[in-house]
């Protein structure tokens, strides 16, 4: 079994991360009833024997003594991390896994990236190395941070570079939470664009998630489960947004939204944690979904989101799940993949789903979707036998789709509006290591990316399709 390490940076990163740990524990507790530290648990948790001073512990197969998360928690404020240390998840982390400061990054990417980057460089490398040394076979780093603030976007992308330098062969998957257009942080477009350049150049794969989409999904679910007339048909506790059954009892304001992102991470890692008839290794995700190195932004959608309890027969519900995965309402970004061009698409199923269900649905949906000419059959599929808690089955669709360009060019517009007036620029350039050229380069990088997606999206781009085959002299 391979192991992965989660690195959560900044307020948002840590909140999402902690929801992941809570829900992951709930999921394992649901499957693993006898308290044995099994292979599945080992992928994200260590089993530590508190009586041993060296921090070593039980191997898979032994009883659970104390679980420690394979994680590094970084924040430059104390609030969230001290809540973690005093909260119900405190035993999952030892204080050495935490790196914090009390001053914050002031919503300034440059402060996070350059100032804190140089100060905490060694400490971060040490912590990550230690986490890596605890892994038998380290497969993947999951980095979670937001794009809009200072710590997550600045220091988070600094960590990304560190990972590339220190562990070049280990897969780097970033879950990046993008700010909504009405974000209360004025400089969030700067921070996001500066961070994006780093993501484009140094990540293997990025799962962008937009705050706006999360808010829409949560309010829709709440509306459905609270409106009186539909009470009878809607399951009250949609496990995707509810943390019920986890160790944290009181729900905090952003928990519902963060739970969705945590569920995304649970789904993407399910196949490397549990068994299935069609295993998907984490490295297969980038291998199949990233045809060109920079174009590695994967739009994700989770279904079922709005669990209706009584929608007829099971097959209909199953097929509905597939259809929903492609609908606008289920994307974790405001985007409509059906109207744009697919470069590749992965369907990761959990639960009791057959090969024939998969094939039938691909056949059914394929005509409604546009794929680039050289990848007309760009489907990657996986089936993991363990469904999420409270569901019979679930589906995570990951799409490398040109629809991301809409969000990205919105972001570019917001950036340009600020940058044209040179607003707040001085806060950045006064930071050691930050140059004005950093802004133009980041903008260039983003424009290049948008243009690359644009070229692929234009129908005239049939490129060298039907390029003459090699001919053989006979």
């Amino acid at each position: 079994m391979t192991h992965s390490v989660i690195i959560q940076v900044g307020q948002c990163g840590n909140q999402v991360g902690c929801r992941f740990w809570d829900l992951a524990l709930r999921e394992h507790a649901h499957v693993n009833k006898n308290g044995v530290y099994d292979e599945a648990l080992s992928s994200f948790f260590r089993n530590v024997d508190p009586r041993r001073s060296d921090g070593g512990g039980g191997a898979p197969g032994s009883r659970i003594t104390a679980l420690k998360a394979r994680a590094v928690l970084i924040d430059m404020e104390e609030g969230v991390l001290s809540q973690v240390l005093s909260g119900p998840l405190q035993q999952l982390f030892s204080s050495t896994q935490l790196i914090s400061n009390s001053y914050g990054s002031g919503n300034n990417w440059a402060v996070g990236h350059h100032t804190y980057g140089s100060v905490y460089h060694e400490q971060i490398v040490d912590q990550i190395r230690r986490a890596a040394e605890h892994c038998d076979c380290l497969q993947c780093f999951f980095l979670i941070h937001s794009m809009g603030g200072g710590t997550g976007s600045g220091l988070g992308t600094f960590v990304l570079r560190l990972l590339e330098d220190e562990f070049p062969d280990v897969c780097r998957i970033v879950t990046a939470v993008y700010p909504s257009a009405e974000d209360d942080v004025i400089t969030s477009p700067y921070n996001s664009v500066l961070a994006m350049r780093e993501l484009t150049e140094h990540a293997h794969c990025v799962l962008p998630v937009e705050n706006q989409s999360l808010m829409d999904i949560v309010s829709k679910i709440q509306l459905m489960s609270h409106s009186s007339k539909s009470v009878s048909v809607v399951k009250k506790d949609c496990t995707i947004i509810s943390g019920k059954g986890g160790v944290s009892k009181s729900e905090k304001p952003f928990d519902a939204m963060n739970n969705i992102v945590a569920n995304l991470l649970l789904s993407i890692t399910s196949s490397s944690r549990f068994e299935g008839s069609l295993n998907v290794d984490l490295s297969e995700i980038t291998m199949n979904l990233v045809p060109f190195p920079r174009l590695h932004y994967l739009v994700s959608s989770l279904t079922p989101l709005y669990t209706l309890a009584d929608v007829n027969v099971p097959t209909r519900r199953l097929d509905q799940m597939f259809s929903d995965a492609f609908s606008k309402e289920h994307q974790l970004m405001t985007s409509d993949p059906r109207r744009a061009m697919y470069l590749a698409c992965a369907l990761m199923l959990r639960g009791n789903v057959h090969m024939s269900d998969l094939r039938r649905n691909i056949q059914r949906l394929r005509p409604t979707l546009k794929f680039v000419p050289w990848n007309q059959e760009g489907w990657k599929t996986g089936v993991c036998s363990v469904p999420p808690v409270g569901h019979a089955h679930s589906l995570l669709a990951l799409a490398n789709n040109t629809c991301v360009r809409a969000s990205f060019s919105d972001l570019r517009d917001r950036f340009t509006r600020l940058y044209r007036k040179k607003a707040h620029l001085h806060h950045y350039v006064c930071v050691d290591g930050m140059e004005v050229s950093g802004f133009t380069e980041a903008l260039h990088s983003l424009s290049d990316l948008i243009e690359q997606y644009d070229t692929l999206a234009t129908p005239s781009h049939t490129l060298p399709l039907n390029a003459p085959r090699l001919s053989i002299a006979t």
Partner: protein, 442 residues
């Protein structure tokens, strides 16, 4: 003589045990007493307690499938795998042929060679090595190709037969066509013959002939195992008409692969049906063979939906460059008949010279094996292993799709980082175009 099975990757390690189980169950059946010993010697050895141990080596880069396979075999209480005959790592090859071939393969060369050598040394006489893998993923295809190459170096004079599972046209692995092209081009020079099963074809057999509603991977594997079992179980052959043949792979290759340019073999079985309908079926040999012959010439993969209008071109000149509409020309065929009244079956219709290329002597193109033992509950069963044009289309599709992708250089960076170059790709494409051209001009 014995066959050493080498199971590679997830697919190989799932089909392998199905084949061994099929062979075991068939050999222990009431009618099979006559070849039980011969079949056991072929695929199994006995441990100190007299229990059957498969002459097999299991190789995968991740542990889950191998663990399941081993547990399932020993759980059956009928046969098991050798205690030290498997090798696995923790991290798969990530659907990347280059990762399997250039990284994992060389890294574990010694261990794997050692495992196979130990199994080979346990055979009184080695009939050949049977390597099973898929061409779509990373481990079966990449590591599988590398291992085949090592085996070819170590056993230059032994027969190596590869069984390849070709992926569905769509839906499993996006880079499957690249992986297939790289695998096939290399294996073609290493292996003595490639027996191919296409998942799409097998899926159709499951849904239309076996009436399976929710088809799972294991259903597909069972059908493949059934077909392979009917090929590998003992039979009376041309060279050994009075005793069960002791050299199945060698005899098969000498009947079917007469030219190194042509080594793609496909299989046809008739009839195929759900286990529950077996006892209600009644077939006659002439009926079965008539269908089978038409399946062959009209390139139908199963007995349903055969185009009866296709016929053997009367004029030789019509063949070759202007193939007769829908006509599937053969290089050679091997017909294996098993079951009741097998001596009354007449395979004469397969001897017709119009079925074959003109440049082979008539006595070299068609062979029949037979056995009076009903195989796996089928009262009568005909298996045709054929070296013909039927894989031309699927192969052409694979090459076309991979070529389109290559023209945009999509996914190439994923491969080059493991040490393969664009020129290597081009070389593989050239090799496959050559094979396509050869088969087209039969």
């Amino acid at each position: 003589m014995s066959v050493v099975t080498v199971q590679l990757g997830q697919c190989g390690n799932q089909i392998g045990p199905e084949v061994l189980s099929t062979v075991y169950e068939d050999s222990t059946g009431a009618h099979a007493r006559t070849y039980k010993e011969c079949s056991y010697e072929r695929f199994f050895r006995e441990d100190a307690e007299g229990a059957l141990v498969a002459r097999a080596v299991l190789i995968d880069m991740e542990p889950k499938v191998i663990a399941q396979t081993i547990a399932k075999a020993s759980g059956s209480g009928k046969w098991r795998y050798g205690e030290k005959s498997h090798f696995c790592q923790k991290q798969g090859s990530g659907n990347n042929w280059a990762n399997g071939y250039y990284v994992h393969g060389p890294q574990h060369k010694d261990v794997v060679e050692d495992l196979v050598r130990r199994e080979v040394e346990r055979c009184d006489r080695l009939a050949g090595i049977f390597a099973m893998m898929s061409v779509a993923g990373g481990t079966g295809s990449g590591v599988g190709t590398y291992v085949t190459q090592c085996l070819r170096d170590t056993y230059p004079h032994s027969f190596i037969l590869n069984h390849l599972t070709w992926p569905y046209g769509t839906g499993e692995v996006i880079v499957q066509n690249y992986n297939s092209v790289l695998t096939l081009s290399r294996l073609y020079t290493l292996s003595d013959a490639l027996v191919v099963h296409e998942n799409d074809t097998v899926h159709k057999i499951c849904s239309q002939l076996m009436n399976i509603k929710h088809i799972s991977v294991s259903d597909l594997n069972k059908v493949i195992a059934h077909q392979l079992g009917s090929m590998l179980q003992p039979a009376y052959t041309t060279d050994s008409p009075a005793h069960y043949s002791r050299n199945p792979i060698g005899e098969m290759l000498s009947s079917l692969v007469c030219h190194p340019e042509y080594k793609l073999l496909s299989m046809l079985n008739i009839p195929h049906m759900a286990q529950t309908s077996l006892e209600y079926s009644a077939y006659t040999w002439p009926g079965l063979l008539k269908h089978l012959r038409q399946m062959l010439i009209a390139n139908a993969r199963m007995e349903e939906g055969i185009d009866w209008k296709v016929c053997v071109p009367s004029n030789r000149a019509e063949g070759g460059r202007n193939p007769h509409v829908g006509f599937n020309r053969s290089l050679s065929n091997l017909l294996i008949l098993r079951g009741k009244e097998v001596s009354s079956a007449d395979g004469g219709a397969f001897k017709e010279s119009g079925l074959y290329v003109p440049w082979l002597p008539a006595d070299g193109t068609f062979h029949t094996w037979h056995s009076p033992v009903p195989f796996s509950g089928y009262e009568k069963l005909a298996t045709l292993i054929s070296n013909n044009q039927s894989l031309l289309n699927p192969l052409d599709n694979i090459v076309q799709k991979a070529w389109n992708m290559f023209a945009s250089r999509a996914y190439i960076h994923q491969y080059t980082k493991f040490g393969i170059s664009e020129d290597d790709f081009l070389e593989s494409f050239t090799m496959l175009e050559q094979i396509l051209s050869s088969y087209t001009h039969l």
